[in-house]
Every structure is written in C-alpha cells, then in structure tokens.
Symmetry: C2
Subunit: 762 residues, 2 copies
C-alpha cells in the first residue's frame, strides 16, 4: 500500500475472497450520476461473493415491503436503487486460455485509485496455465465531464512469444440486484427489476433501452468499442440470452501491445424524455472526442476540485490518505443535479438500497457548503423538489399541517418499514432546516432562501407546531426517536427539541428577513402563512422544553433516560456487537445504551445552548454508554471532544472515523462506503481540530494540532471567498485565495483576511 | 326474533348478503374441540361473502410473517388456525332442480339456536322455480358427549305432488383458509395448508387423513350416512377433484318425509397417535349409538351446564337472551383439554387466526372459575403446558430469567408481528398470575398450585425482576405497553405495575404456603429458587412504583400520559372509528386517547389499591377519552361503574357488552364472536351488579338491581359448593344448592350460607 500524490494503491499477491469483495467498493468508479462497482472484468470464481453493480443516482424501482401486521398507514412498498446494465464484463483469452485471477499465475498485480486524475487501474502480469505471459493494464473511469460516460481501457502486452488474443466484451442489459436475506441492512429480495424494451446493434454499437417493472422508468445503455490494432477483427452480435457481445481478435508478437477501449453511455428517463436518442447522441459525441479528451477533462475537473477542497495533514501520511480518500468519495457519490442526492453508501453498493437519510444534511452537505456550495445547493434542492411528498407524508402520520421528510427515501416517499427507528426520527426535518441555515450563514445566498429555503423552513416549523403540545407553559415533543436508534419512542429527546427550536426560530427569521426586503409576499400567500402562525412559532421556540438535568448535571437524552439501568458494556461479549444484531430492540430500549451520538451530536450543532462544563460532564457520561455501532457516531464525538478541549480523545475518535472505510474498520465496507462518516471525518478536522464556527456573528477558528501531526492545511469557502488555512504547532496562517476580504475571529480575535497572509502565533 | 326457553331465533324472509355472513357466526356449532360455521349446506351465490369453515381447537399450521424490516429476534412466522375438511356440504335436488335459498321462493325460513338441547336448526318451506314445494328441516350438532362428532340431520317433506329427491353429500378434505388482505385483523394469505395423505371409501364410509404443510400435524375426517327411506339408493364415490360424494336418491309422495343423517368425525394428531384409526373407531361407535343417543346426551350435558351456570334476568327478555347466548357460546368455545384454549373468536371464525390472548385469563376464565372450575383448570393448565416456550420467549427478549408468555399464540410461541402492541404487553404474565390466584381463592385447590400454579407464579415474578429496575428506591417497569393499544411503549403503566406487584406478592405467598406445608422442596430445587430471590420479589413488590397522581387526583395511565394533549373525540367524525383503522399508531400514541379500559381495568382487579374517590375521578376522566374500539372495554367500565356506585352507567356499559355479538353492534360478528366480551358481560352482572368479591378475606356480595329489571338470579361455585343467589329490588336471597356451608358477607354483614335460604332486605 502506498500513497503518492493522491493515489491509493493495493498490491495483490493472490485473489482472496474477502479482499476481492472489499475492493469492489474501494476501487469503484462514480461521478455522482453513475457508479460502477470495481468488479473484475472477467468475473470471480463462483464461490466468491460479488456485487456486480452499476447504478444511477435516483433511479429506482418499487418493491413490496409486507408488514407482519399492517396497521394504519404503515409503509408497504419501498423504493430501491437498481442495478442496471452490466457493461463492465470483458473476457480475455490468451492463446485459447481464459484470463482469470484465480488460475494461471499472478506474477504481480496492483490496483490503483488515482484521485488526481480520476480513474482506477488494475495492472497485472499474468502467466497462463500453459505458460504464456502477458501484461494487462485496465483503466476505468466515470467521467465528470460527461456524467453518462463510463470507460474501460483494456491494454494487453505480450511478454512471451506470439499470442493470439480474443476479447469478448459484453453488454448485458438484464441484471438483478444483490440480495442477502440474512442481513436486515440489505434487501432480502432479489427480483429482476428491469427488462429490455428495445435493443439492437448498429455500426458495431449496441444499445438497450430497459424499463423497470413498477416505477416504469426507462434507462438506456449504449456501448461502443475502439481498438488500437488496425488489423483486429470485430464482430458484434446478440447472444441467445439477450446479451450483446463484441468479439475482437488480435495477434501480438512478444513486446507488442493492443488496447481495447470500451465506452458505455447511460441515460435515464428521470432526466431526459428520450433516453435512447440522448444516449446515442452522447455516444456519437464521445467517440468523436475520444478517450484522451475525457482523461484530460477529468484531470482538469479534479485539479479544480482539489483546489477548492484541499485538506493536507502534515507528517501523518496514513491519515492524509484517509481523509483525501473520503473527500474524493464524497465528490463521486454526490448527485450533480436535484434528481438524486447522496445515498448512505453513495453509488458504491446496494447497502441501504440506495436510500437517502439525514446523513446528507448533517454529515455531507456541511462538507460541500464549505468546499463546493453549488453542490450543497443541489443537494438541498432535492429536498425542495420533494417537499410536496413530505407534506403528504405528514398527513399520513395524522398531522394537520407541515411537512415531514421521510427517514429514508429515493423520491421523497417514506421507505422505512419499522417506524420506531425510521419515521419516528422526526429530527430529520430539523436537520434539513439546520443544513439550510448553515448553507445560508456560510454563503449568504438569500436568493436560495427566497426560492426554496424559507418554504422548507416554514413547512417544517409547522410540523413541530403540530407534533408538540404545551404542558405547564412548556412546549413538549412526545413519542419521537432521536438519532440514537437504541432508544426509541421517547418524550423530549434533547437533540430533537434543540433542532426543533432552531427550526422554529429560523423559520421566523427567514420570513421576517424576506418581509423586510419586501420579498415575502408570494411565499406567504402560497403557504397561507399568517402573523398568527408566525407568533405560534416564536412562542413554541421560546417555550421549548428540555429534559431536566440529571444527578451530577448531566443532560438526559430524553425525559426518562436516567430512569433506566445503565447497560454493562464491559460485560458484553465482543461477539454481541453490534448490539442491534444480537438484542431485541425492546430490550435495548430499556437500557441506557446508545448506538451513536445523540445528545453529544446536539453539542456540536448547538455549542452555546448549555454551559461547557455541562457539555463536558455529559460527553463523559455518554461516552461510557455509546457503542458507536453506527458509523455516524465517532466523528461527532471527535468534533465535540475538540470543542471541549479533549484533544487526545478528539484525535482517537477522528482516526477511527477517517479510516472507517479505507481500512474497512467495521468489516462491512465491501457492501459500500459510508458517506456520512466520510463527511464527518472532514468536519472532525475543520470543525473539530481547527475549531471552525460559523454563526450569525460570523466565522471563527481556534485551531490546535493533534500531537502526532506537525500540522495541517485546508481550504474553505465563506461568503463567496476562498481562503487557505495552514496550522502548525507554532502558528496559524490564513490567506485569501479568491474573492473579497472578510473578517474572521482567530482564537477570539477579529482579523481581516486578505490576500496578504495573516499569521497568528498559537 | 324470539326467545323461548334458551332458544335464539331468526326469521328469514329472503337471503341477504349481510345476514347470511353474520348468521354463519351466530348459528355456528362448537363444543370446544370442533367448531363448524353456520354456512348453508347448499352454499351461497358466488358474490356472497362466506367463510366456510370447520376448525379444531389448537390445530394449526405455520405461516411466514415477513417483517418489513427484520430486527433482532423479530417474529417471522406465526401459527394459524386451520380450516379443515368441509363435511357440511349437502346439495339437494328436487325433481331435478337444485335447492338454493337464492332461487325459487322462500315461503318461510327460520334459523334456531337451541341452547337447552345444543343444536342449531334451519326450517325452510321452499317452492322450486318449477313449482314443487318441499319443507326442509336441517338440524346440526357438535356433540359434547363425543367431542369428535358433528352431525347434520337433513329432513325433507314433500308439500306438493310426487317429488324425486337427490341428496349429494360431500366430504371435501382439501380446503383453504379465509383471507382478506385489506383487514389487519385477518390473515392476508390464503394458502392451502392441508393435503390428503390417505383417503378412501369403505362400506359407504369415506375417510381422509390430511397433513399440514409445515407443522406436519395430521387431522382426520370420517363421514358416514344414514337414511330413513329403506328404498333409497346410495352411491359413494370419489370425484375427480378429490372430494368424496355420497349420492342418495329417494322418491316422495305428497306429505311423505325422508331424513338423511350425516355423521362426521374429526380427530387430530395433537391428541392421539393414530387419528385415522381413532376416527374410524369413533365412527363405528357413533353409528352404533345412533343420533338420538347423542341428542339425549347433549340435552343432559346442557341441563347440567345450565344447572351450574344459571343467570336469569327478570323482566328484560332481550338482555336475558343476550347473556345466556354469551354463556352458551363460552361453553362452546372453550377447550375441554389443555391442548387448546379459548381463541379470541372461539371456534366461530378465523378472525385473529384462532390465537389465544390475555382474553382467556382476564375475561373468560373468571366465568368458568365461578361456574365450572374444572374447565377453568384446564384452561390454566394450557399455560402450564406452554411454560417452557414462555421461558424461551423471555430469552428472545433478552431476559436472563423468568417466563414471558406470548401476546398471541396457539402453541405457546409468540405470533405477534408488531411488538409495540403485541409482545410489549408484558401485563399478560401478570394477568395469568392473577387468574391463577383467583382460581385458588375461589376453589381452594392447593394441589393445582403445587403442581402448576406456583411454578408459573415464580417464573412470571422472576420476569418482573428482570424487566424492572430501581430508581431512587422505587421499582420501575419501563418500555412496556398496557392494555390500551392506543398508548404503547410507556414507562410505569399503572395497570402493568399493579399486576406485576400482585404477581410478585403471590409468588412469595404461594411459595411460603407450600413451604409451610413442607410441599415446596421439589419446586425450589427444580427452579433453583433461593431465599435470595424470594427476598428480591418481596422487595420489588414493596417498592413498586406507581405514576404520580395528576392534577385533580386522577391516576395517570403511565408516567407521561398527562403530558400529552387530550384527543378531541367529539370532533372526530364517526367514520374515523375505530381509530386504529384511520390513524397511524405513532399519531395515536401522542394523544390521551384510549382504545379500552386500562387504568379502569386495574380498578376492577385491585379495588382496594387506591381510594374510591380517586377511582371515581379517574373513571370519569378516562371515560371521556376512551373509544371502546376494543370489545374488551365496556364490560370493564360496567363492572367498575357498579363498584363505584354509578348504576346507570354500569347498566349502559353492560347492555352494550351483553349485546355485542347477538346484535352485531360493531358490525363485525360475521368474522366470529368476541369471547372476552362474552365473559365480561357475565362478570358485569355478577362482579358488577351483584358486587361479588372474592379475596383472601373471603367472599362477599352487595347487589343492586338495574332500574329496568325487576331482578336477577344466578348460581356460582365457591370452595366446592354451589349457591344460588336471587336478587330483587327488595331483597337478596342466597341458598346453598350443593356442598358445604360457608360464610359470606352480604352488604358487609357476615352470613352463613346453608341449604336454608338466607334472605337479606336491601
């Protein structure tokens, strides 16, 4: 393993079952629109686990989700991300012997993820069972320039005497999703969702237009080939099983090379009316431009990306690699339009069925707000586009007004089958509101607030009014679940009530701000929003109730949290983790035990709500009873530990978070990356170590450097400007790289950030 | 409609869709072992709803119950009561025209349930489309003498000229269950569960041995015929579809009659090793005895039953009819061995899939304890027989000790798919304990306590120790659901904590009692029961916490009940009831609204736990927020209203409860009777109006007579003796009919009950 530039590599001695499956995730290609798992072109032996997937962000079908007992308005169908046409299959035969990592001899093999140039690569020297030796080099890319494009550049060099090669490159339109009935986190069903409605071959280019079984969406794949060997023979034909195969034969002398380039174009009917026509046109354009053009554009795109998203850790190459990997994966996972969003596992696997959760707003959008506000805006726009469905969802839950965003979804419809740790997590609407406010406070983009943000804030604030009720002049929120899924259906979850209060306050602020600027009329008439309701919001925010401090001044997670016994984590055998796979939820609910940061998460979002001392006591209390069985937990603990001055703890939690996927710490990255945690690890440095804070008073930092590091550097955007911050143990320097100068507090002292470097001694 | 003797009748002018379905329930035959819906022998038109069912108590198959999201130890299969062989089909053709209630002319038709003689009857005068006129009289019986026996006596009299009759009597072994995917209270699947493994015809007697698909149980049906017409021609043969048909031809002159008698015997492998052999032997015996023998035995059995279960209401024939109907149905529904129990809908329909609930212990067993203690003991023995499964169930829920009886079950395995209003109703273990104590206090049967009762009490008491925990020296029970299914997953449900306390107290009492008598050794060594655990139980009982009284001294249903807004029942449109079919549970949980008696139910069980004044205030409070969407509610309200001196209310609630099924008040009796409510209506008179109380201090009554009545009489058993109590507005008289004299308090005054009538002025 090595890391040079932004290149992540794995040397492979022999194909292993575990690594083979894991590398499908780690070396997947994605651009936010399409994602292709890093499966081997030639496949794996039959007893290997493999998820041979290609996905389109937001492209889905509908699956029945039968309820064991179907109570009123329970969810009975869900959306699921689809595996679409397999265009990554290329068989190679060398003098009649099939190339395959499990036979012959792997002389050497290296897999590479090049994050500067945006491709993955597999380099293999292979000796066939009969003794022919070839060097194989396969480069794969999902293009940021042309989001529909996936390419495979398959180069073979003869290292021994004459070899006759035959490439057999497949285009398989009808594929199934991955399934595992034993894991609740994966789909249990494995039906075939798509079927071909039109396919064919013309001029050696194969195309297939497919339709989904229930959502009736269409997607199209078009595949074309080029080969460097002018004498090579081509033959493209449709097989009996519906796959289209392009056979290419080429003869090499020792030392000679040949390269097959395979272009795949994917389109879908969510984003265009005529996906087949569009795909064919795109293919024509792509073939005209040629692969090198797209390599060049890819490198330029990433140069620009890293220019704005730079985070370098000095003196700790492993951590540096990890955070850069995470940032890169976030770019690859995130939709570039409002038709999709960021799935819990991005476009890297089918875990959580491609659903979008609060992960987007609380863990990923904050990263883009600081580094690429346009992408952040796209992601928030998705929520605006699905606001009507959230209004419908609120009605299904019995509310007379407001919008309840679904706990998990693709199109905006609730897809959670178990409401106590699904729909009951009402905090998601506060999370969305929080993300919008954060976007606004960082960008100043009032237009977006006027167009989308204020409406979402008002509708979600309305929901809180409808959920809550007054008791003794305090506003209570009963029977919801906070982020901690080991404690469900509680009253006055501290986190929830905090985000609800913030949501209410900012609904009012946004509306009054727009009113001041005479920009509120349209909105208030559209929403029939009255002064009366505005006052209701003000009052509920002001009267918001928070559970009473426990003994020793610790904040209880909810009203009755401290009435329960503390789970004995030390006495719990290791094989009983994660607890959710080993204990009935009803049992877990009866204990003080947390799957993840809940109250601690609130300290990150609302650092000024309670005294630091209370936060510290509470942090230490929750730390002892949190299992971090969720990947969303340690990053939050890290940030709050930083803010509370517990630097060693902050670093420990950060490390765990940063390396979560790249080192497969939870032994489940093979099913897909954990995008929320990836965003969290970025925040752990920027919000945590660097102490970034952005609120109505402005922007401030108060960095420290973890012991192990000599320093770190990063770039962020604020109000349209971009700055670079370099932190060492001795000093902090900040310089404006782009845009207008602005004021920033550094260690509490207001400083103007200009193109001339500001240096502050620690 | 009329009521003479104990005969319930309906005159039918024309077949109606609604009534036809309803009468299948009201006129069903059952004896606690088998139940046969009162469907028409000739069937109904295709567009009529019909549930053509024959059931065996406790006979089941296993059905998958997929969970939308399958968390740890969620229930994924359930047991379901099976519809078994259809032997009730008899087609009649009259001069070639099929008799059928929907064609020709119904000159008159009457359906009768004779509760003194234990049969149902249909009397029809029918004119065929061509004009032939016949009188048809069909009598059906499930025998109490021979529980395996179901008979149909089908008599036809020619009222017009010569008629040629042909009976075509079917024996259809392979049938399906009823299904309705739109109703959560019914099974959504309609698979065929049973298939024939052996069948045949010998000497005109058909038999079929069937096996279930997954439980691998066997059941057997054997059918034989007799006809009064010596010249009649018989022919029994197996049809292509697997049914066996006995065709009988007979010619009648005007005024002549012919009677076909059809005997069906049912056996099962739960209760005997060779069900086929057993069934054939039974058939031989039955044919030898003849139908009249069984009619005679049936009448004797019922004479004896009514002798012990007498309850007569003077001056209110409708109510008198209703309560006697209910008592009769309880006898028919209740298992006569410990292989079955009492399903929520008895053996009258497939609603709730034949599952047993707390209904048995809290509503039905109390009736049998007073009228037929042997049956009560059988029903409790069922729980003892399933105690090991309850221990297993406790482990599935994470408990280290104790037994958790399932919320709904056939064999003792949890079959509840939605745990918040299923498994979380831990009170069921306290209910079972309560029923055992009640049985003991009424019968003095210490042997049963030694054999079964004490073990159940100790194991359930252990469960409470494991569920609960101490907070500030009080013992709390968190995250359970009380009886009210509109408020789930709460802390310290008042009802639950009351039954838990009682359970703990009586586990200790029983153990100490047995110890005193030197009878506890075996038990304590079997259960590894230590002094230490005994002390734990004492302490938990003593320290049991109850939610703090609310404003105005009302007892809250649970810790946070009064923190929720009151549901506006007056503003809720009528078509929104029952609420569970119209509101998401999460919505319901957020309001003060009750499906059924919960805290009020606790006042019935524990009348001395809190002051009467508190009970009255609380009763009035809960009355306003209870929808009685459960059939278990109004009887409890009636009893408590009686005990609190609210006689008019008590009568109103009683009437509703008594007539629930016989008048189809909830428009759902067609799916089956509501056995719990039936027991409740008996208790509303005996525990309510008559003020019966049985506790450690002894037995007492303090009767009043509802305004509308002139009085009422009933018989109950106490400590092996049977007494008759007559109540009028002027006086109460009590006389010992059987057994030893004993002391009883009447209006607080201790009185010796002897064979000489005691008369007390009101």
């Amino acid at each position: 393993m090595s890391f040079m530039g932004k290149t992540f590599q794995k040397n492979i001695k022999a194909l292993s079952k575990k690594d083979s499956f894991l590398y499908e995730t780690l070396f997947h290609n994605a651009n936010g629109y399409i994602g292709v798992r890093g499966t081997l072109e030639e496949g794996v032996p039959a007893d290997y686990n493999t998820m041979r997937g290609t996905y389109i962000n937001g492209f889905y079908d509908i699956v029945d989700m039968k309820q064991a007992e179907n109570l009123c308005n329970f969810i009975e169908k869900k959306e699921t991300m689809l595996n679409i046409a397999d265009t990554q299959t290329v068989y190679l035969s060398v003098n009649g012997e099939s190339f395959n990592m499990a036979q012959g001899t792997i002389v050497k093999c290296k897999r590479t993820l090049d994050m500067d140039r945006g491709f993955t690569k597999r380099d293999v020297v292979w000796k066939s069972p009969k003794g022919d030796k070839v060097e194989i080099s396969i480069k794969r890319m999902t293009s940021f320039e042309e989001l529909s494009l996936f390419t495979i550049e398959y180069k073979v060099t003869a290292l021994s005497g004459n070899v006759s090669l035959m490439f057999s490159s497949k285009h398989i339109p009808e594929v199934s999703n991955y399934s595992d009935p034993t894991d609740p986190r994966l789909a249990a069903e494995s039906p075939k969702f798509i079927s071909v409605v039109d396919d064919g071959i013309s001029d050696g280019i194969s195309y297939a237009l497919c339709e989904t079984s229930r959502s009736k969406l269409k997607c199209c794949s078009v595949v074309g080939h080029e080969i460097t060997d002018k004498k090579a023979r081509f033959c493209t034909a449709k097989d009996e099983d519906g796959a289209m195969t392009c056979d290419v034969m080429s003869d090499l002398k020792k030392g000679e090379s040949v390269t097959l380039i395979k272009y795949s174009i994917f389109t879908d009917s969510l984003r265009c009316d005529e996906p087949l026509t569009a795909a064919k046109e795109k293919m024509k354009k792509v073939l005209g431009n040629g692969l090198d053009y797209y390599y060049k554009k890819q490198a330029e795109y990433l140069e620009n990306f890293w220019g704005g998203s730079m985070l370098e850790i000095h003196n700790d190459p492993k951590m540096n690699e990890a955070v850069n990997f995470n940032m890169y994966e976030l770019l690859c996972s995130s939709a570039k339009d409002s038709f999709g969003n960021i799935a819990a596992k991005g476009l890297s696997g089918e875990g959580y069925e491609g659903h979008y959760f609060w992960d987007s707003e609380m863990f990923v959008i904050p990263y883009f707000v600081l580094t690429d506000p346009y992408l952040a805006k796209m992601l928030i726009s998705y929520r605006y586009r699905t606001l009507d469905k959230a209004r419908e969802n609120a009605k299904l839950l019995g509310h007379k007004r407001g919008a309840l965003f679904p706990w998990r979804t693709i199109t905006g419809v609730e897809c959670s089958g178990y409401f106590p740790s699904g729909t009951a997590q009402y905090h998601i609407v506060g999370d969305i509101a929080y993300a919008i406010v954060n976007y606004y406070l960082t960008t100043g983009d009032l237009d977006f607030i006027k167009e989308c943000g204020a409406e979402i804030l008002i509708e979600t604030a309305r929901l809180w009014l409808d959920v809550g009720n007054y008791v003794n002049d305090t506003f209570r929120i009963n029977d919801v679940s906070g982020p901690d899924e080991y404690t469900c259906m509680v009253n006055n979850n501290y986190y929830t009530n905090r985000v609800a209060k913030y949501n209410l306050i900012w609904a009012v602020k946004f509306f009054e701000k727009l009113e001041e600027l005479n920009m509120a009329k349209e909105l208030s008439s559209k929403l029939k929003f009255s002064k009366n309701e505005l006052d209701e919001m003000k009052e509920a925010a002001e009267m918001m109730y928070f559970p009473k401090f426990g003994k020793d001044g610790v904040i209880p997670q909810d009203d009755s949290f401290f009435d329960k016994p503390v789970w004995n984590l030390k006495a719990t055998p290791k094989d009983k983790f994660p607890l959710l796979l080993n204990y009935h939820p009803l049992h877990l609910y009866r204990y003080q035990v947390c799957k993840q940061a809940d109250t601690v998460m609130a300290f990150f979002l609302f650092p000024d709500a309670v005294e630091k001392n209370t936060q510290k006591k509470s942090f230490e209390y929750y730390e002892k009873i949190t299992t971090h069985d969720s990947s969303l937990s340690k990053c939050a603990f890290s940030i709050v530990a930083s803010k509370l001055g517990m630097q060693d703890k902050a670093y420990k939690y950060f490390g765990n978070s940063a390396e979560f996927d790249i080192r497969d710490l939870h032994d489940n990255t093979s099913y897909g990356i954990h995008t929320a945690n990836m965003g969290g690890s970025f925040m752990a440095v920027v919000y945590g170590f660097a102490g970034l804070s952005i609120n109505e008073k402005g922007i401030s930092i108060a960095p420290f450097v973890p012991d192990k590091w000599s320093g770190y550097s990063f770039k962020i955007r604020f109000m349209g400007s971009r700055i670079r911050i370099d932190v060492t143990k001795e000093e902090v320097s900040v310089v404006l790289e782009e845009g207008e100068a602005f004021a920033m507090k550094i260690y509490g002292k207001k400083t103007k950030i200009t193109k001339k470097k500001t240096v502050v001694k620690v």
